[in-house]
Subunit: 328 residues, 4 copies
């Protein structure tokens, strides 16, 4: 093997946390250790770079975390890193410590920071997509997405029990400020009557038409899954409007909220995180920079960070049709 | 065995549904079947009595439901059953069918209906405590309570992951309009910093004192579990007030909501439901009436319905102290 | 849309059951219903074709099954269908009923039967890959594989708790007679010290070398995940041999067994099953035959059944290296 | 409050581990801390006393463990502690450190050791029942039992899926060498056709009679739950004998094994562990010794260790009858 392009790397988690970040961190640390690259953990995202909050990490530093939700490095959004002064401080600290490569685990915002940092100071950076929203281009799935889907689905399955027992209509809000992946997939998986997501133009009349169709087929209870970022209306407004038109309906609202970010990662997420953690370190070693490690159809790929941020995984139109057909 | 006091019984589920109602129903139907008592299911609670919505049930009618949340008989609150006319209709339907015993699975409201019905018309009734709230006297646990505790706990464990990763304060509302059992036990089980329940007088100053103590011990994230029926303030108000006093805190709110009512029942709930379903039918056969079947320290007991409604399981004061000591 | 190539289809599940078969069945039935194709369920796999055990299915026949493990049509291996006479009977029954398309949900054996049936009698067949083993070419994942991974992982996580508490070595057998996918992925996800699978040549010396390395790094407990079809030795033999060489080790064996086939399907499996059920019916309508519906990198694909049987998804060599690096 | 009878205590976990041991440990440490009692953790059970392996513990030493299976102190069976010399060493180490009270978390064997140690050397001891077997007198439930029930039940639910899909008979072995609590309750909760436990005299003819009855009622698949300690035969022998008499049956065996000891504790187990950990420390403070802290019908009780070991919770005869009636 030719010489590694990096000798001493740092790793951080930033932005909203997602299940599997710890598994990714473990993979980064142990891969570095295996290839004799020194490795430092950075606490609380980019703030840790600025505040010189580095932590030397060896193979045992990451034991027993592969199955833990959250991130032991903690995460934060950093206002200071958005300023040139902040980034200068961060760079100075890296230089002082001899850091020549940086692994950034997070989403859009995290990657934007990494890209600017690389372009300003030339330090090698590589991204690992860790977010439950799955809205990152360059990887089939982001780390945490699969776990969040199962969490949302389990919760909706439970709501279904009580909805059916009482002939109720439930509006369930799931996470996804800009992306409907969680809503679409968890809705399909739970037989939701309708699924409202920001990527498509929804109308209240179509929703009401579905309620009327459901009545005709004898469906006595219904669940409508709504992405956080839905533009038509939020779950409370939807419930109100529905009540006005269907005064006999017994309507409830549920907001699944932050529990979707936690929990022990699924097998798929642990495997994905392990592969991407490994891929990030070996990528840096091979000279990659300003790219994101991703997995497409079971193959490790590197996508320029710029592309990962700008492009988006498209919602599959088929899924919308299928969910409509199957929720009959 | 002497002759059974009943020959043909009906069973209904009423009020808010709870996990294990199906397991109780299964036990009622199969116990009746075993002792050659005819058994009818009544749909949608007391409404089914009024609307003559009976369903003959045999051993196979209840197969594959022991592990299902909700209630296949469906549940409802019945305004009409609160009127004398409604109850008269219900009684007439029972007489027409030859029903001489009624098993009512539900909570306070269900039992009140059963009691009045028995006192007015003399028909034998027996209650089975099915509610997640555990606020029924005469049984250590109500059916569904244990499952709801685990559901709430699992959700709070997940919230804990993200709270810790971001150094956040979470106010989590759990079910319990009149009773703090779910809040107290799920809060204790998740190491909540504070637990606010309707049974004790809470003050915002005490809560704030706990935040200050937590800061001193270096606790960076906290969860406060709040019962739905808490009198001091709801979770949104608590979050706002806290923000005013602790402007640096990153505060979030989570309302666990109706998912707490659903899900496959826990082993304890399935066993409890099976024993009470059996106990209700054998109780009716032995001539019991106007009582509730319950389980106290592993023994089947019958408590007058009046007592079950009027008295309440007291919150254990020790638990409050213990939760305070352990959440250090 | 041009005219459908099929008017009346039948659907069956065959071979070992897997979580998500019901979700696939639901998708087949409802998609057929949506496009006005008559649909029949066949009971107990190919036996049902031979025994004329057809069941007319409409949209409501498949309600409340998307979240259920197993298969409501039941599954079986059919010796009679392996004979020409058996297949003739099956074909005669199809013709009598007017079946012009057959959806076969299962694995290798199921597809072989479908292929021969198609080639002998010309009846259109399409396969849906339903098996936990993931050993089918033409789809990234088979239906049930993701759920089985999570089930195996959860069990191994639990075993890890007790292994760590007692400094024990556990040999854990997971399913996979010919394929190591479950072993490799669940082993990677649980930090197994070693993973033994039929696709690679294992030696007892390498295993023992890993035990010695683990001792050096201070690892006091270890888990070795072994695929059912491992050629070196089975878990009991491995435990014995290890005991001879490491007499101080406290060694235990666990065989996860059939629980890996059951359980409510994961979100990924429900979505996959829904898409493939839809794809199978629309495929038949468009004139596809003797192919299998699969999903590759989020796209619906049709692979000739012959290819699906003959080729195999290869174990990713990277994964073996990664699991070795990360289990340090 | 009068002066505490102890000033410096030690706590250990011994014997087979059970979910909730960590929660009990947390409660012991934090209660001691709250009342200004110094507290030491002892590693690997009684071995730690002998090997002088003490660990000073404060409130933060036990953070984030309430939800973890296993025991961070590790557990072991100690041959040396069964000798007078071993116990003398243990006592000398306690004296050197100034330990005047010992909390022993475990089962029968653990308590026997504690009792002898107390009787020989006078050091105050108190037991906390931590075992999944529930075979300890003086408490309604032991710590870990409820979690183990849910683990066994979930596994059997999954096995049920595949049993039903293939019309199979499964013999499922659950833990319980001397006690049938897990078998009886998990079997009742999963509708097992028969439940074989060491506490009752089983006969193969009765079992076969149940198979014949099941056939008559049209039951196509069956699960028989067998306790590890069943005297009639083990699961493999039962399967063989059944095959001889019912050659058409498709029979499988499953041994749930050590996964029953692990996993995150249920809410009931965390609450029980918290209360008993608190009760053990306050008991020692109040002068209790040679007793076990237990919970009966929601009340904290202290039972002489001798009684806890000698007496046994009886299997409830009703449960056997109920399981028979309900598995129709």
């Amino acid at each position: 093997m030719k010489e590694s392009a990096v000798k001493k790397i740092a790793v951080l988690t930033s932005g909203g946390d997602s299940p599997g970040m710890n598994a990714a961190l473990r993979a980064v640390v142990r891969t570095a250790n295996y290839y004799n690259i020194e490795c430092y953990g950075v606490r609380e995202g980019y703030n840790g770079l600025i505040n010189n909050d580095f932590l030397k990490m060896g193979a045992r530093s990451v034991k027993n975390i592969i199955n833990q939700g959250g991130t032991i490095l903690k995460s934060a959004r950093s206002a200071e890193f958005r300023t040139k002064e902040g980034r200068q401080k961060a760079y100075d600290n890296c230089i002082k410590l001899g850091i020549d490569g940086l692994v950034c685990i997070g989403g859009d915002g995290t990657f934007t920071g990494a890209k600017i940092f690389n372009e300003e100071f030339g330090i090698r950076v590589i991204g690992i997509p860790g977010t439950i929203d799955n809205d990152i281009f360059g990887t089939d799935n982001t780390i945490g997405y699969d776990t969040a889907l199962n969490t949302a689905m389990d919760a909706i399955d439970k709501i279904r029990d009580t909805a059916t027992s009482h002939n109720r209509v439930f509006f369930v809000e799931v996470m996804g400020r800009d992306a409907g992946f969680i809503a679409l997939n968890s809705g399909l998986a739970t037989g939701a009557l309708d699924i409202l997501i920001p990527e498509k133009k929804d109308s209240i009349d179509e929703l009401f038409a579905k309620f009327r169709d459901a009545e005709k087929t004898g469906k006595a209870s219904s669940i409508v899954v709504v992405a956080e970022g839905e533009k038509l209306a939020n779950v409370y407004e939807l419930a109100e409007k529905t009540k006005l038109t269907f005064p006999d309906y017994d309507i409830r609202v549920a907001i699944l909220g932050h529990m979707q970010r936690g929990g022990s990662p699924s097998c798929a997420d642990r495997v994905l995180a392990s592969r991407l953690g490994y891929g990030a370190v070996t990528g840096l070693m091979e000279g990659q920079t300003n790219v994101m490690a991703g997995m497409r159809s079971n193959d490790l790929t590197y996508t320029p960070i710029e592309e990962a941020i700008k492009k988006h995984n498209e919602i599959n139109e088929d899924l919308l049709l299928i969910s409509k057909i199957l929720a009959i």
